[in-house]
């Protein structure tokens, strides 16, 4: 019987090795798989490349992973925000690399990575410094840059509910990068608030079909990043 449940976050991330490329879902705290990230801090792999829209807040979640010196490179669209100090400090000191990607291009690169598309053309960033060094080409009298699909060894994603097949639904704008990141990694690890029996999620409303998911960890009461930041918490 297919059953993708894994007992705990620690065992779900245990095989992530030094040098791995990891996609981490979320837009700000919405959809950020904070328990999986903390398990990754505990596990301790280093020299990671992380693909995520932001770089975390305060000293918890993704910011904690960065502060812990485990990340050598970030691929993201918006590496600063109100409570983001860790990444800017390390980046200014030259201790972490940054590949800045427009948000829509980042999303499309991830989707293409999951769909077997090695490269595509987009009008985004044409005529800007973010197109420098990239191939450009005209189609139908407009200019486009070529962008490459993006894949990862692992994706860490937060969803709302799952069944044992790994079918997922999300909540509100916490959906953001989850569905596309699930498709673009060799191993997709998802934390959900609730596990339900097969069929409890209407086949019409499944957002991520189970084929894209490898491991499901149930975290019934996930921590809220903004609350931890407000309380000045740090991890570990």
């Amino acid at each position: 019987m297919i059953d993708k449940r894994v007992g705990c976050a620690a065992s779900a991330v245990a095989d992530i090795r030094d040098g791995a490329t990891i996609m981490i879902g979320g837009f700000g705290e919405a959809g950020s798989p904070i328990e999986l990230i903390h398990a990754l801090v505990d596990a301790g792999p280093r020299h990671l490349t992380v693909i995520s829209n932001n770089t975390g807040s305060g000293r918890v979640g993704l910011a904690a992973l960065i502060a812990n010196g485990q990340v050598r490179k970030m691929i993201c669209s918006y590496p600063r925000s109100a409570n983001s100090m860790v990444f800017p400090e390390l980046h200014r000191r030259g201790e972490i690399a940054l590949e800045l990607v427009p948000q829509g291009t980042l999303a499309e690169r991830i989707r293409c990575g999951g769909a077997g598309i090695p490269a595509f053309y987009t009008a985004t960033a044409v005529g800007t410094i973010l197109a420098q060094g990239k191939e450009s080409r005209r189609f139908d009298d407009a200019e486009y840059v070529m962008e490459r699909g993006l894949r990862a060894d692992f994706s860490l994603v937060k969803a709302d509910r799952a069944d044992r097949y790994g079918n997922l639904v999300y909540r509100c704008t916490a959906r953001n990068f989850g569905p596309i990141m699930c498709t673009a990694a060799d191993t997709t690890i998802v934390q959900v608030r609730e596990l339900v029996p097969p069929g409890a999620i209407d086949p019409e409303v499944v957002v991520t079909p189970g084929v894209f998911v490898d491991r499901v960890v149930v975290v019934p009461h996930p921590q809220q990043e903004s609350v931890l930041v407000k309380e000045g918490r740090r991890y570990p």
Partner: protein, 218 residues
């Protein structure tokens, strides 16, 4: 005081958005536009983090950290809203399905070049978000900005000195002093704020301004 307040700028801009428009609002001053939808019109607000049919901020205490806008502020969803993932969201934006995007600006050039994402300084942490996608994909780009910087330098210039968000992408500029159209001939003053003269606007602008004549309209 001469000129428009921030709220008046937002109201003036909103008056130019047609009924039924799909609208994306940038972070900061553009967010004010949501308060000034003309009474006889309906706009549908899209936020690029995955919501079409964004409604106003919820009452204090009932915010949902999983229901936010692109500025990571709590919002609500109207009846008839839809959630979607980022690739679908940018299909809307990059595929030309959003009618109007309202953005702030650090600089706008007479040709409609926009700089609004980076000072280009060596130790700045650049953060682009969806700005380059929006200017490349949305049908009409409206800039809302104070006419000059806090120190009085022109933000509307012949050539942007900051790194560009996009080339030739801006359609119109709404400032505290005037409404300017970006035309093939250059910047054209469509409207002056109360008590503001063309000469005053020109003095605070780093590029030549045209007055509206039939042949200056693009």
């Amino acid at each position: 005081m001469n000129g428009w307040t921030r709220e008046e700028m937002a109201r003036r801009l909103a008056a130019d958005i047609p009924d039924g428009a799909y609208v994306n609002l940038g972070i900061g001053m553009p967010e004010l536009v949501v308060q000034f939808v003309p009474r006889d019109r309906e706009f549908v607000f899209q936020t690029e983090n995955g919501l079409l049919g964004m409604g106003p901020a919820p009452p204090a205490g009932s915010e949902d950290p999983e229901l936010i806008n692109a500025g990571k502020k709590a919002v609500s969803a109207i009846p008839g809203a839809a959630y979607f993932h980022h690739a679908d969201s940018f299909t809307m934006i990059r595929g030309g399905h959003i009618d109007v995007c309202v953005l702030g600006a650090m600089q706008v050039s007479a040709r409609g070049d926009l700089a609004n994402w980076s000072t280009g300084e060596a130790d700045a942490i650049p953060a682009v978000g969806g700005a380059m996608d929006l200017v490349a994909g949305v049908k009409r780009i409206l800039v809302i900005t104070e006419h000059t910087t806090k120190s009085g330098e022109p933000k509307i210039v012949t050539e942007c000195t900051y790194p560009l968000t996009g080339r030739g992408v801006v359609d119109a500029i709404y400032t505290n002093l005037a409404v300017l159209d970006v035309t093939s001939k250059g910047l054209c003053v469509r409207e002056l704020a109360p008590g503001v003269t063309h000469e005053e606007v020109q003095a605070k602008t780093g590029a030549p301004l045209l007055t509206p004549t039939p042949e200056n309209a693009r």
